[in-house]
Symmetry: C2
Subunit: 324 residues, 2 copies
């Protein structure tokens, strides 16, 4: 199978009539037109075997994950997904891999109305690079996108869904941890097929003051919000512990480490003023996405952990860094 057969067979579908794509796969460029009064939100994520996924992952799950981690960035901005490009380096053109990979990829794309509009294929060590496009409304020339820079002292601090379970699954794969099979299966699904919180992100537009997606661990991605907003945060240990689905299978220290710095979560961390608590709950209900308040924004830079009595707990957790 040649390069162009491969693209035609697995990665070419006609653009949706009336959608934002004027021209899809097959020319030098794709052509996309955002809705009137909207800006385009753009994000790019590259996945490398052994860093972002294990070589043993099922190809359909990998297809899902490659797009999910990109949709998660759109979710963090409150953007509506439109389209994506896929650049793929493959050791060889293997239909046994390409068929399920494209199936998993396109199933998630269809679920979000996000069209594959172009990309590139080349021979090389397995590498998946997706660039995703969404749109956010403009109001008087300013976008309504959720940014990392809007958190204010006194805001509540929230996370969506579950944190730490993906890391638990990784530690089991690494042979560092043993948990009951049902716990592992659930955690493995979190690691291999994360759910991008697209509907929640959109529902939080005009409600949240700042948001980021959690890919490198909670304290790392929260750190981006804190630095860009010029604030700090206090995290309540008990609340944080409540967001790991596998809580009962772990001791508290380990569970807390997975929540704070596990990585690969693809949940949202966001802030909103206390008078928006009802609006946050409404956004959670509307998007059918659990949301947990885990602390608050303070003036002192950095983050700190406190117990139920407000006493400081010492932690050394750090974000994942590819070059440290």
């Amino acid at each position: 199978m040649g390069e162009f057969d491969l693209i035609a067979r697995y990665f070419t579908r006609p653009p949706r009539p009336g959608g934002p794509t004027l021209l899809g796969v097959g020319d030098d460029c794709a052509l996309v037109q955002p809705s009137p009064g909207h800006a385009l939100a753009i994000s790019s994520d590259m996945l490398v075997e052994g860093r972002h996924f294990l070589s043993t992952v099922a190809p359909d799950r990998l297809g899902h994950k490659a797009l999910a981690v990109n949709l998660s960035d759109l979710a963090a901005c409150g953007a509506t997904p439109l389209a994506f490009t896929l650049a793929l380096a493959l050791p060889r053109a293997d239909p046994q891999w390409l068929e399920p990979f494209s199936r998993g990829l396109l199933a998630l794309a269809d679920a979000h109305g996000c069209e594959l509009i172009g990309g590139d294929t080349t021979q090389g060590p397995l590498n998946l690079c997706i660039t995703v496009f969404g749109e956010v409304p403009l109001q008087q020339g300013r976008s309504l996108a959720l940014l990392r820079s809007g958190a204010r002292v006194g805001d509540d601090l929230y996370v969506s869904g579950h944190l730490g379970d993906a890391r638990l699954a990784l530690e089991v794969f690494r042979g560092q941890l043993s948990v009951p099979a049902a716990v592992f299966d659930a955690a493995r699904a979190r690691m291999e097929t994360p759910t991008p919180r697209v509907a929640l992100g959109q529902a939080l537009r005009g409600v949240a003051t700042a948001a980021a997606d959690i890919s490198d661990g909670l304290v790392g991605d929260l750190g981006h919000i804190l630095r860009r907003s010029g604030v700090g945060a206090c995290i309540e240990a008990e609340a944080a512990l409540s967001v790991i689905a596998a809580r009962d299978a772990l001791d508290a220290e380990q569970a807390l480490g997975f929540v704070l710095a596990g990585g690969d979560d693809y949940e949202l961390v966001f802030t909103a003023p206390p008078d928006a608590r009802a609006a946050v709950q409404a956004a959670s209900a509307h998007s059918q996405t659990p949301v947990t308040r885990i602390g608050r924004i303070e003036a002192d830079a950095g983050w700190r952990l406190v117990d139920a009595q407000g006493r400081a707990l010492q932690r050394q957790d750090q974000a994942f860094d590819h070059f440290k």
Copy 2:
């Protein structure tokens, strides 16, 4: 040096005031707003060491080339460059490589007013994935982009600049060929720092009937135009031979092979009706880009080569294919 220091030091610059970028590097997404009445043209190219560049290439030249091959796709659509994302897998964070790489990359970006708005960095086998964004005017809801599908029987067939010299340089690197030093130096510059024909592409809007960029060799990329337009082409051997700069250093057979199927040229192949010859020359002059008429579009599918007397010459040249 950590991942975020690396991004801050080498790949972060503030968006140009009044430009299309509402939000640049540093949030979950970048925000881009095309001009009113324009669609966004999008293309993605992935470069892998050993496939698209030699491990010995100077990093500043590689930075130039990684963006140039993407700008070449915008050129083929007649789009005006706006912005790009860069996803980078690196074996290690080496300032000695990153500094010249980013310098070469951003110099070409600045020359085209194309802003770096985001991307990703990860540890892994060296891989560069750029997604580039341009804009093309819309007229009554239809874009004025140059497409591959518009060639018509009777059109002239043109190429820009020089073809085959990049392949010559590669063959010298491979030890398959020996040429005088000055010939090699010029060819090596064509291979390592190609010139994307952005100004020519824009000047050809409304003049050319079809266009494509030549990355996999002339007959391969011309083939895309022919198939999508439902036509064929006749190429005049003498005219084709005139477009390789190193013509005098090669025998005719070899030179013709490099022109027809050399690859890595990043020139444009395009078609225009005979009554547009003056307009094509004006576009060439306006963009200061040489253009050569090398044949014509015919009804019979596929392409054929003819001598000065119109007699058919047998050729087996094929496009480069990553998986064949």
